[in-house]
């Protein structure tokens, strides 16, 4: 519509086109007579003039196209049941076009903090036969130590940036912005209670069985984010990421027994892992060492 108005204004202020306009009107009138049975065509706005076929934005600042991005990140998980993790990381991404880039994000868990529930279980859970396979007998910080935690993440990913624009803050500050989606595979280093209770393994009631062991979980990762370009070299970003996978967050023996496998079986193993939609928020500062281009 905006294009149409602009084109109309242009023609109205250029009398030398008046003859052509009259001819065009006649042609349109004739065309309408000929095409009268087609209702759809009568509704179309035929864009004419210099903006015909023009892109939505001219001289668009291409912050991404052909540029490498180096972005330190800070991330934190949320909606955690037993333990939260804060990550320090780095994203390296090469943007093939302004709308597509490939890269990888890696982060290391620098802080693992227990939730209210974890502290409460550690303080109040009775240590007896009913809980001996599930709660560490060490009351000092036993339950906190047995709960699983994420230690690191590496995620090769593809980034799609379909939306480019700008925002005004308080009608004073104007920032070029883009919105993007990312999709990839996440390799997550998890410290999780080791297997116990099976033949040849430690009994699950033994204190030694509560010691976590490392494993690598593989999960899909996807999310979306916003990038705010402070200058052609520096950006600030906020990003949501989901990376769902199954893990035994508390180290409980809660599956594997009964008719449907939903009851304890005296063993802790992969059957006790339950699916979790893990989520995090990341904040980043991006640096673009290469020169920025502009569209036509």
């Amino acid at each position: 519509m905006r294009r149409f108005v602009t084109a109309a204004k242009k023609s109205a202020t250029t009398p030398k086109i008046a003859l052509g306009k009259a001819a065009a009107c006649a042609a349109v009138a004739l065309g309408m007579l000929v095409a009268a049975p087609s209702e759809a065509s009568a509704q179309e706005i035929q864009l004419t003039g210099p903006l015909k076929g023009a892109p939505a934005v001219r001289q668009l600042r291409l912050y991404r196209e052909g540029r490498l991005e180096i972005a330190p990140t800070f991330s934190f998980t949320f909606l955690d049941e037993y333990k939260r993790t804060m990550f320090a990381g780095l994203r390296l991404q090469y943007n093939i076009k302004d709308w597509i880039g490939i890269g990888a994000w890696g982060a290391y868990g620098v802080v693992n903090s227990s939730t209210y529930l974890t502290d409460r279980i550690n303080e109040t859970s009775p240590r007896n036969d009913q809980t001996s396979a599930n709660v560490s007998p060490n009351k000092a910080s036993g339950f906190n130590d047995q709960t699983s935690e994420m230690k690191w993440i590496a995620a090769p990913q593809i980034t799609l940036t379909p939306f480019r624009g700008k925002l005004a803050i308080f009608q004073k500050l104007f920032v070029d912005t883009d919105a993007y989606f990312h999709l990839g595979a996440a390799f997550v280093g998890v410290n999780e209670r080791g297997d116990c209770g099976a033949a040849g393994q430690t009994k699950c009631t033994a204190a030694a069985s509560f010691t976590p062991v490392s494993r690598t979980a593989i999960a899909p990762t996807f999310g979306l984010g916003l990038t705010f370009y402070a200058s052609s070299l520096v950006s600030v970003g906020v990003e949501y990421r989901a990376f769902p996978f199954a893990w035994n967050r508390a180290g409980f023996d809660s599956r594997g027994g009964g008719n449907d496998g939903k009851f304890p079986d005296g063993k802790v193993d992969s059957q006790d892992r339950t699916f979790r939609f893990n989520q995090m928020i990341s904040l980043s500062v991006g640096f673009f060492p290469q020169k920025r281009q502009s569209s036509e």
Partner: protein
């Protein structure tokens, strides 16, 4: 005769090409106007600034009428309106004499006081000023892994200014609270019960402030507008504990409690009156928690005063996903684009 017949079409073609040729010269006028052809001054010495022969274009930068009129007051308008051949020279003065710029007008216009205030965005795509926003939504709890509290909601906001609104909103949770399986698994494994609560409804009075707005080009093809806002207010939330510790004796009633709320939201406009909304809102209130200990006697166990013990400042963070409809649907801008 044969030869004459052969030449007739050529002559006819030349006769047709003649006007077209002058038309093509017309199209070149912008360059020709600045550098008149040598024949023009010779053909029309009385009007050196006049357009070249055959031209009907407008040359506002070189007002031919005024010098000609000054040189020969008697010739005046006819000299300005015609070229050396006597044909009309065209221009805005001929099309609409009232719109013809006069030297005096230009001087007056130059001295005229103008409002120099220029807005960064002259016409905001979706004005909110003095419009009512109807905002139905569906909410999901974000921070309660024990009991989820989904439910429908409705917000009404009236924009006092383009960026500030006062409004009300309410949520209905009754019958939709969901005690997750995670609670059961946790209780069975650790023999520790966590006090749980469920919600019935809430109602709030809010202020909304819209500090951020902008637009996005989608796939480099279409443009859509969005804004981001902060919202805050106070209201009432009706909640009750879920009997976990002693469900045989304890039956809690819903009680309204004072609640404060704060949040942020993003609104994406599909047109000037219809938008999609995503809002994160934190409802903060003082929750009564179930007493974790049970009375020794039946009388103590059935004494309602012993059913609750601790109070806890509770954050109910929820995502609200919905639509916005602005009324009235249309308006007129005060200033032109």
């Amino acid at each position: 005769m044969k030869q004459a017949h052969r030449w007739l079409p050529i002559l006819a073609a030349l006769a047709l090409v003649g006007p077209l040729a002058s038309g093509s010269a017309h199209a070149q006028k912008k360059r020709g106007g600045k550098k008149p052809s040598p024949q023009a001054p010779a053909a029309a010495p009385a009007a050196p600034a006049a357009a070249p022969q055959g031209s009907t274009d407008i040359e506002l930068d070189a007002p031919a009428a005024a010098p000609a009129g000054a040189a020969d007051p008697n010739a005046g308008a006819p000299a300005a309106a015609t070229d050396a051949t006597g044909s009309p020279s065209g221009g805005i003065c001929e099309i609409d004499p009232s719109a013809c710029p006069k030297e005096l007008d230009v001087k007056a216009a130059a001295q005229k006081q103008v409002n120099a205030e220029i807005y960064a965005v002259q016409q905001i795509y979706a004005l909110r000023y003095h419009r009512l926003e109807l905002q139905p939504y569906w909410s999901f709890s974000l921070n309660d892994q024990f009991v989820s509290h989904p439910g429908p909601g409705l917000a009404l906001n009236y924009y006092i200014t383009n960026v500030l609104a006062i409004g009300v909103n309410g949520n209905l949770y009754a019958g939709l609270n969901n005690d997750s399986d995670f609670n059961f698994q946790n209780r069975r494994a650790t023999r520790v019960a966590v006090p749980l609560n469920e919600y019935q409804w809430n109602a709030n009075v809010n202020f909304t402030y819209v500090p951020v707005y902008g637009k996005f080009a989608g796939f480099g093809d279409f443009i859509f507008h969005y804004d981001a806002y902060v919202v805050g207010g106070a209201g009432v939330i009706s909640t009750r504990p879920i009997a976990v510790i002693d469900p045989d004796n304890r039956k809690f009633d819903f009680e309204p409690k004072l609640a404060f709320n704060a949040g942020i939201g993003l609104r994406i406009f599909f047109n000037r009156w219809f938008a999609a909304n995503l809002e994160i809102r934190d409802y903060i209130y003082n929750e009564k928690l179930e007493n974790l200990s049970v009375g020794r006697t039946a009388a103590e166990q059935q004494d309602k005063a012993t059913w609750t013990k601790d109070n806890s400042l509770t954050n109910n963070v929820q995502a609200q996903l919905g639509i916005s409809v602005f009324l009235p649907f249309s308006w007129e801008y005060r200033l032109p684009k």
